[in-house]
Amino acid sequence: MSNPIPSRKEVIEDIKNRGELVAAVLPIHYSRALLRCFSIYPVEVWGPPKVDVSLGGAHLQPYVCSIVHNALSFLKMGGLNAADFILIPHTCDSLQGLTSVLIDLIKPEQAIIPLYLPRGQREEDIIFLADEFRSLYTRLSELTGKKPSSKDLLAAIKREETSDLLLAKLYKTRQQMGLSNLDFYRLVRSREYLPAEHFSTLAEETLQTSTQPRPGIPIILSGIVPEPMEVLNKIDEMNGQVVADDLACCGRRLYKPGISPEPFRRMAERIISAPPDPTRGNPIEERVKYLVEMAQNSGAQGIIFYEVKFCEPELFDLPNLRNSLKEHGLASIIIEVDINNPLPHQVATRISAFLEMLDS
């Protein structure tokens, strides 16, 4: 990569210096285009890792996952002060609880904007999600005083679609790019906070750079988020190569372009047709099929389920997924982490043993 990737902090400062608005967005699915039409820049909050959790612990029980704990702690310590709004998609019971506690009991300065995501992939789910986006449009209009036209909305959607197509291209050519695991995920995860046009430029530059492919034991990484990111370094050190992923922050958001010319429906179509995701209620069979095809296409020999502790949507599917993958000759391992802790040595040892097993 010729240009360094700016950090979240730098991007936020740049947006604020231009006098524009920032929305802190919690995981997982939402429409970036809808926010951008109102000149609101989404900056995603996946935790972040390694914050003082005692602040969140004053409101949440210890059996709530570290992503939610950390998000609340980060908010309480002023980490989201630059955000004008906080958008929280209804991803799971814990994020639902956090949203409700914020709206009703903690009441931070920023407006809390919930977004309900349907759990099916039926026509009624698309209609409902399109209505949710319409409702969000109304709320954002009230908050900003702006009323973007359908043309503005479609232009914003197409800009995001272009960016997502480039993201998909990065995924497709990742094995030829010669990036380390850490560098690849730094790049693709910058989609979490870079404006689409900025990300597109970065992606195009990277795609034009030709380097030598990196050898390594090919694996798939599945889960919510690869935090702490040291795990990617460790996989590099152990000669592992993440050739594809089923991560909520990355591969599960490879949204295809929508079909409908009507902007709200098109936004909904993009999310509903995204790769299978337990938080959107996809059946286990769809996930098995998707992962098997992913392994076949990428040449992966095994799958690391890298899970955040207490994440029920992930945990329920694991026994069936692992059994079915085994029937297809794919080995797997479950690693559970608290994103607030440094990567435990035990985790590194288990990954190392898994890679050795695949190599042999």
């Binding site: 059996y63 709530v64 709206i103 009991l105 029920e312 329920f316 599917d317």
Partner: protein, 441 residues
């Protein structure tokens, strides 16, 4: 449906089982026995209706045992819109109720162990683990559970049920109806209500196909009527807790709520609650309270700790404390006014969108405050339930607000509704003792 299975059903259920259970109940009513372990010094004798509760529950599971092949079977989440299935003649099983029953019978550890051995994490809901363990091993204290022909998951209690029912759907290879009910942070939007109604409409042809018959809307209305009647009676029963002394504690309510959860829409359920109400009124007239020498009255928030009901009743009863009301048992009552017979699907959509678990933390806090006032309570026990995040998240702030804003003593107890490994009796006893002392100050 097969003739042999139907004959088996009639013989085992109608000819042998039901008459036996009826006889057993009559015996228990004629010669009521109180266990030698019952703390008669602090608690009034158990309610007479207990024999009928036992008969109803046993009969329900007996019918289930022989249902396969005789009538269609559906497994449904506890907040699921059951009326359509009842009207189509389904035998309806609630895995959560089965989980609770396993908890009360102290059978959970062995059963959920089967799920854990199969790879299910100890961090997933203990009801789900118990159900999956039972599904994988066939183990259950009720003899045998029928296999489902249809699954129905309604997300109005949690998202967990969706993941859980996806596991069931894969195992049993049967259709899964999803009724997704958007969470009500402040007010239900029109498009959310329309979405739920649409899903209810779309569920009908699927259920009809499995049942092999067409939905009779007149029958659906009758069932909604019965459902509403039973729910209204349950609301009245809970309301009797306003009397001093309270004629029934929540530990009784937890047991006697089984029919309102799994037998809504049946005439016998309406009769059952009418009889319970009558008994409570008799006790009120005689001045009989659930706890002898009732001195203090409390509210219980969240699910029960199924495997320690008696412990809590006795421990608190010893200090003259009766836990009179609960946001949990109230959840099965408070929706009665929303049911409208003239618009069955609209009314079902509205009703099933609004259980306490599908509403924001402020609604729950307001409910607690209202119940404390209405029932003249001295404090609140909030069970922080490791297995139920939707109910539990927010309780830390709710407890603080109850104490600081409203001057209501409140205690947060860490446990799990069905997993005794997440429960420490020593810790609970010590926290209860401090709380009781504080109530007396």
């Amino acid at each position: 449906m097969g003739i042999t299975d139907s004959l088996k059903y009639y013989w085992n259920v109608k000819v042998v089982g039901q008459p036996f259970l009826h006889w057993q109940r009559r015996q228990a009513e004629r010669r009521p026995k109180v266990s030698s372990r019952w703390r008669s010094d602090i608690l009034s004798p158990p309610l007479r209706i207990g024999a009928k509760t036992k008969e109803l529950i046993s009969r329900h599971y007996l019918e289930g045992r022989y249902a396969n092949g005789h009538r269609p079977v559906a497994w449904v989440t506890s907040g699921g819109p059951v009326e359509i299935l009842q009207a189509l003649g389904f035998y309806v099983l609630y895995p959560e109720n089965h989980g609770a029953l396993c908890g009360v019978r102290k059978a959970v550890v062995e059963i959920y162990g089967e799920a854990e051995n199969a790879g299910y994490s100890t961090d997933i809901c203990s009801y789900a683990r118990t159900d999956i363990g039972s599904m994988l091993s066939g183990k259950t204290p009720v003899g045998r559970l029928p296999k489902p022909d249809l699954l129905l998951a309604c997300t109005n209690i949690c998202q967990t049920v969706l993941h859980w029912y996806r596991v069931l759907a894969k195992h049993f290879e049967v259709p899964l109806i999803l009724i997704d009910t958007p969470f009500v942070y402040t007010k239900a939007s029109d498009h959310a209500l329309e979405y739920v109604k649409k899903q209810l409409e779309n569920s009908i042809p699927i259920a009809e196909q499995v049942a092999g018959r067409t939905l009779d809307y007149r029958r659906l209305k009758e069932i909604i009527h019965l459902s509403k009647d039973a729910t209204e009676l349950w609301l009245e029963i809970i309301g009797r807790g306003r009397h001093h002394p309270a004629p029934m504690s929540v530990f009784d309510q937890f047991i006697h709520m089984a029919p309102i959860v799994e037998m809504r829409g049946k005439k016998e359920t309406v009769d059952f609650y009418a009889a319970l109400l009558k008994e409570l009124d008799e006790n009120i007239d005689k001045g009989i309270g659930a706890v002898r020498n009732e001195r203090k009255r409390l509210l219980w928030d969240n699910l029960p700790i199924w495997y320690r009901l008696r412990y809590f009743a006795e421990n608190l009863g010893e200090h003259g404390i009766c836990v009179v009301a609960s946001t949990y048992t109230n959840a099965w009552a408070e929706l009665a006014p929303l049911m409208n017979l003239e618009k069955p699907l609209d009314s079902m959509a509205n009703t099933y969108m609004h259980p306490i678990l599908n509403q924001g933390t402020k609604y729950k806090l307001d409910t607690m405050k209202r119940m404390v006032e209405e029932f003249q309570l001295d404090g609140v026990i909030l069970h922080s339930d490791r297995s139920c995040k939707p109910y539990s998240i927010g309780q830390i702030d709710q407890r603080n607000l109850l104490i600081q804003e409203y001057g209501i003593p409140a205690l947060l107890l860490e446990a799990d509704h069905d997993d005794p490994r997440a429960y420490s009796e020593e810790q609970v006893a010590s926290r209860l003792a401090s709380f009781v002392e504080m109530l007396d100050d």
